[in-house]
Symmetry: C2
Subunit: 117 residues, 2 copies
């Protein structure tokens, strides 16, 4: 598994982690200080806001989990990867592509999400 | 046509414009001051460097033109769109997706290209 895939899978794990302490540890490992997230529906900056955003999404989609649905494509400090949010057995409720810029220490500095369906 | 599509089509026109004066005018209209471009093969910042990069790509792929191959998807100050570089009659030699961040005056501040094939 590449460095980029390891980072993205830690990011996905954070989106799925229901335990607050474990989720905050995953966020600290995957996201840079003062990192930002922006998609058509959500916006947050910094670990505390990102943690609150993830908790709110988990509450809104109970029984659903995020998963990476394809390889991580990257060059320089930029990556992109496809993902889906779906119940354990069922079709995705949302899917899309995330685009990210990495920090110098190879964590996520900025993530932009786009929805495909 | 949306504001985003108009902007992207001007950007595509700049990639295809062989006349240096017209190309520089298209670049000035589509790109913000000190704008940056980054893909797996190319990197440039500022109008003069972007112009030189485009001229070099035109020289490398004679007879080919860029075209947008799907809608422009955007939210906040972020857009993405698919494109291809192909000869007038023939299969694309390169295709991909560009992701861009817009400047406050709605020009391109940063463009990141990814190659699909």
């Amino acid at each position: 598994m590449s460095e980029h895939e390891t980072l993205v899978d830690r990011y996905i794990d954070a989106w799925n982690e229901a335990d607050p302490a474990r989720r905050r540890a995953l966020i600290a490992g995957a996201w840079a200080e003062d990192a930002a997230y922006l998609d058509p529906a959500l916006e947050s900056r910094g670990a505390e806001a990102i943690d609150g955003m993830i908790a709110a999404v988990q509450a809104r989609f109970p029984g659903c989990r995020f998963r990476r649905t394809g390889p991580v494509d990257g060059h320089h400090d930029r990556i992109r990867f496809p993902w889906a949010l779906a119940p354990d057995e069922g079709e995705p409720v949302v899917s899309g592509v995330d685009f990210a810029v990495l920090s110098p220490d190879r964590r996520l500095a900025s993530v932009t999400g786009f929805f495909d369906a």
